[in-house]
């Protein structure tokens, strides 16, 4: 055994990793049911959010901005402070009334593929098309003033997940993004579902484009129930899957134009029974629409969507009371997404849910940039941020299975995410990320000759917008002071590097990981 081993083991014990391993001696494992059910609750995904109680809570305005935007951009925080908690939510619930012309103009000048038809896109380089859509997603998350709308777009993008890296999908996801997700993100769910069912990118991704009466393909038939509407284990059977698949036979695409096409010749025009409901023979394309009506109106769908929305916007383990209220709002409004969201966001449960969500990579990356009020250029800035997203594991449209990126704290709070998030903080603190520029001294209000203590307090207030524990504040001050007295002015030549270090350590701290 080397000295290296000893010192490392000492370190483990000091910081608690060794203790965690050692705290589960064999003797305690004699009763596995106790161990598994109760004794390690904070080590499993579903209950991870309970482990953050130690952080002093932010004020409600910070909470609401943190939760319905991609991060605390100062202008939005100021807007929320002037409108109040409810006023800010109401404003964000009506994105069409928010002037976002600056973002629209920037997108129009930077990306030429976003508005193009499928036929026009198919003539271009697929890599260019795919890159522009990814870059636009990041740009919008950072710069759009319609932040809640962009979060809904992100939600539905994952709910109706389509992996961008497959043949024609490279081109057609751009159309799906525009005409399915963005067009219906705050509309009626049935419209969104129908648009998705007819979306060429979805038809290809879940193979319905190849679903024919002679040997039906069950992929879409299953996932439209399991993922898009009712949710798994809600009472549909394998026979229902096969009936739904048959109802959608013939829903395909014209490959030359990349558009939806109903092929009567390959449609099974027989009568169907889906979830006990009879659909008569001879309806052609309408068979599929009838199935969507049944699914969109099923109580399990309201419950499934309410659970997912509450998980996304409130907590990994949302209160049952809130899920039920959201499901009721969904049903009562005829599947109106905006009304469902209004119920969730104006609830007492939402107000009480500060810090319950761990930042997923997109919220981390966009959130850090927004918090710094940094400007990103296209393509350099979006490229650099997409690179970080790739390292952290959340490239836009980059999740292969049809269920979308996981929305559970425990999935993302791991060594890979932390490491790459920390490196992002270092790069941003140093203003080293190409195409992303931050006015670092401006962050301090251009303090003259600050001490480590004052610099820490100023930047913590500016970047975290929340109190630190006294112990954590001391730790940051000590780091920033770099051996100098905490209250002595930092030498002029060292101020810039002190700001750089403080920005990085605050963005990399536990306080920034939660929202």
């Amino acid at each position: 055994m080397t000295g290296e081993t000893l010192s490392r083991r000492t370190l483990f014990q000091a910081v608690g990793v060794g203790a965690a391993a050692a705290a589960l001696p064999a003797a305690r494992l004699a009763s596995p049911s106790r161990l598994f059910a109760d004794e390690i609750p904070t080590l499993v995904w579903p209950r991870l959010s309970t482990s953050i109680a130690d952080l002093p809570a932010p004020d409600p305005i910070v909470h609401v901005v943190n939760r319905i935007t991609f991060g605390l951009r100062p202008a939005d925080l100021q807007r929320a402070r002037s409108l109040g908690f409810t006023g800010f939510i109401e404003e964000q619930l009506v994105p069409e009334a928010i002037d976002d012309s600056e973002t629209a103009a920037a997108l129009a000048s930077a990306f030429h593929t976003l508005p193009l038809s499928a036929a026009a896109l198919l003539k271009l380089d697929k890599g260019d098309v795919a890159r522009e859509l990814k870059a636009a997603a990041v740009y919008r998350a950072v710069h759009s003033r319609r932040q809640l709308y962009e979060m809904m777009v992100d939600f539905w993008t994952n709910h109706f997940n389509i992996y961008q890296t497959e043949n024609l999908i490279y081109f057609l996801k751009t159309v799906d993004d525009r005409e399915v997700v963005r067009a219906n993100a705050f509309g009626k769910f049935r419209d969104l579902l129908g648009a998705s069912a007819r979306s060429p990118a979805m038809l290809l991704f879940l193979n319905n484009a190849e679903n024919k009466k002679d040997g039906p393909n069950e992929n879409y038939g299953r996932e439209v129930m399991e993922l898009h509407t009712m949710g798994v284990d809600t009472g549909y059977t394998q026979t229902d899957v096969q009936e739904v698949a048959k109802a959608f036979t013939g829903w395909t695409i014209q490959k030359a134009t990349g558009t939806f096409y109903f092929s009567a010749a390959t449609h099974d025009n027989g009568a169907r029974t889906v979830l006990g409901q009879f659909i008569p023979a001879g309806l052609g394309q309408e068979h599929g629409e009838r199935v969507l009506d049944i699914l969109a109106g099923h109580p399990a769908t309201a419950q499934h969507l309410a659970t997912k929305l509450c998980t996304r916007f409130v907590s990994d383990t949302p209160p049952v009371s809130l899920v039920n209220a959201a499901a009721a709002a969904f049903s009562a409004s005829g599947g109106d997404i905006r009304e469902t969201m209004r119920t969730i966001l104006l609830s007492a449960e939402f107000r009480a849910a500060a810090d319950q969500k761990f930042r997923r990579p997109l919220e981390h990356v966009a959130g850090a940039v927004r918090t710094l009020d940094a400007q990103i250029s296209v393509p350099d800035g979006t490229k650099a941020l997409l690179y970080v997203l790739n390292l952290m594991g959340q490239t836009p449209f980059g999740w292969h299975p049809p269920n979308g990126y996981p929305d559970a704290n425990g999935a993302w709070a791991n060594t890979n995410g932390l490491l790459n998030g920390w490196n992002l903080g270092l790069a941003l603190g140093g203003n080293h990320l190409a195409g992303v520029s931050t006015d670092l001294t401006g962050l301090t209000g251009n303090l003259k000759s600050p001490s480590a203590a004052i610099l820490t307090d100023t930047l913590a207030a500016r970047l975290l917008n929340r109190p630190l524990t006294a112990a954590d504040r001391d730790r940051v001050v000590q780091y920033v002071a770099a051996g100098r007295p905490a209250n002595a002015p930092i030498p002029t030549l060292k101020v810039k590097s002190a700001i750089t270090g403080a920005v990085a350590v605050l963005l990399d701290s536990p306080y920034f990981q939660w929202r």
């Binding site: 995904w45 482990s51 992929n219 650099a384 299975p401 920390w422 080293h432």
Partner: protein, 416 residues
């Protein structure tokens, strides 16, 4: 495809100037090293791989009747024909790299195995399989996590258990924190200019903010430990040995890095590696095509791993699994829909290889599981229990697979 390379990013982000320390002696982590215990490498084929076209039942006429276009031809030595194993089963031609391992007796296959729960949902099936509790979600941990929690190896290495990729596999959930790792070479803090020279101070300052024992603190401590451990071990540029050629893919890279970590003696006991893309509802292909490419990647990766690790394979066991198999009858789009029974491979020096372990249920209509799937005659936990017991030297099977008592072992492995 992607315009970004690490080097470009480093240049633009300025993260490239951190110099790694010179060679350090390797660090031994296990207080009481157990040379007897195998390192477990668990490969998950996500998306439900078609096992009937992997270990092909060429002796069963019903296989050919149901697969008019995606069938694998009977062994004949011709290109694209299956590779005979025992007269009844044969390998998909893209699994050719497995044949040598087979002949060497280090690779075995089990056919008609899987998780007994009848779900046809990918996500439920993966969840059940990784928990190790088919049909139940009441136990939140994974089977490997419970295995690690129920053996006391005195091993505090941050590389004791590694999940390759950006997310930790669900099978690893449990009391021993796993390290999620994409790239050994990139696993360090980076900075530019003054930042780089003060990175140790930064790391110490940052670490001080993660000193509690909540989940995130533990993950942060694990991250810092992993950074320090790699800096000390300095695995450097890796050169696979014995002519091993890993596929130039994420899977190949992950397998190579697992080999690198094992050779660095950093205390690895378990690694999980995923290979996705198996959900072949359409255009699956037969001897060539979509599934064939994935099989070539799988076999190429495992064969390279085996060659690279050479003598160390005597203390390594690799097991493959997928959430379920695929329907016997191919569909009208040249693919297969979700099925049930499947095959698994087990590779390692302690494996009684060169044999297909199968209580073959047959493929006639009355022999299939609803709605037309290969039945399961061997619960996948029987295979894993044998590995845990005989090769990982953990007899607490009730902890690892609660509520499951394996029938007699298949004899896939020799006692370690």
């Amino acid at each position: 495809m992607t315009p970004f390379t690490r080097r470009n990013f480093l240049r633009s982000a300025g993260l490239g100037s951190l110099t790694l320390p010179a060679w350090f002696p390797r660090v031994a982590f296990a207080a009481t090293p157990s040379p007897q215990r195998d390192v477990l490498i668990c490969i998950f084929q996500r998306g439900a791989a078609d096992g009937l076209n992997m270990v092909v039942p060429v002796g069963d006429d019903d296989y050919y009747k149901n697969r008019p276009t995606i069938r694998i031809a009977q062994p004949s030595g011709a290109a694209g024909a299956a590779i005979d194993l025992d007269g009844f089963f044969a390998l998909h031609p893209s699994l050719a790299p497995f044949k040598e391992l087979w002949d060497d007796g280090v690779l075995a296959a089990v056919q008609a195995t899987g998780s007994p729960d009848s779900t046809h949902s990918h996500f439920d099936a993966m969840d059940f399989m990784e928990r190790g509790t088919p049909g139940s979600k009441s136990i939140p941990t994974g089977w490997i996590g419970r295995h690690l929690g129920s053996v006391s190896t005195g091993n505090a290495s941050p590389f004791r258990v590694v999940g390759m990729g950006t997310l930790v596999q669900a099978s690893l959930r449990g009391p021993v924190a796993a390290t999620a790792l994409q790239s050994i070479a990139d696993f360090h803090l980076g900075g530019k200019g003054a930042q780089a020279s003060q990175i140790a101070t930064f790391q110490a300052g940052l670490s001080s903010l993660y000193a509690d024992s909540a989940w995130l603190d533990l993950q942060a401590q694990q991250t810092v430990n992993a950074i320090n451990t790699l800096a000390a071990a300095n695995p450097g540029a890796y050169q696979p040995q014995n002519g091993a050629k890993y596929p130039d893919t994420d899977f190949g890279s992950a397998m190579m890095q697992v080999a690198q970590l094992i050779k660095a003696d950093l205390g690895m006991e378990v690694a999980c590696v995923d290979l996705g893309g198996w959900d072949t509802h359409a255009s699956q292909g037969g001897a060539t095509g979509q599934q064939a490419s994935l099989l070539a990647e799988l076999a190429g990766g495992l064969a390279a791993f085996h060659a690279d690790l050479a003598d160390r394979m005597s203390r390594i066991i690799v097991v493959t699994m997928s959430e379920f198999g695929r329907r016997l009858l191919e569909n009208g789009s040249g693919g297969t829909d979700h099925g049930h029974g499947n095959c698994m491979f087990v590779l390692g020096g302690g494996v009684n290889g060169g044999k297909v372990y199968a209580d073959w249920p047959g493929l006639a209509p009355e022999q299939l599981a609803s709605p037309g799937d290969l039945a399961i005659t061997t619960d996948y936990r029987t295979i894993l229990a044998e590995i845990v017991d005989r090769r990982l030297l953990n007899s607490r099977l009730g902890d690892v697979f609660p509520g499951f008592t394996p029938p007699a072992y298949l004899g896939l492995t020799r006692a370690a």
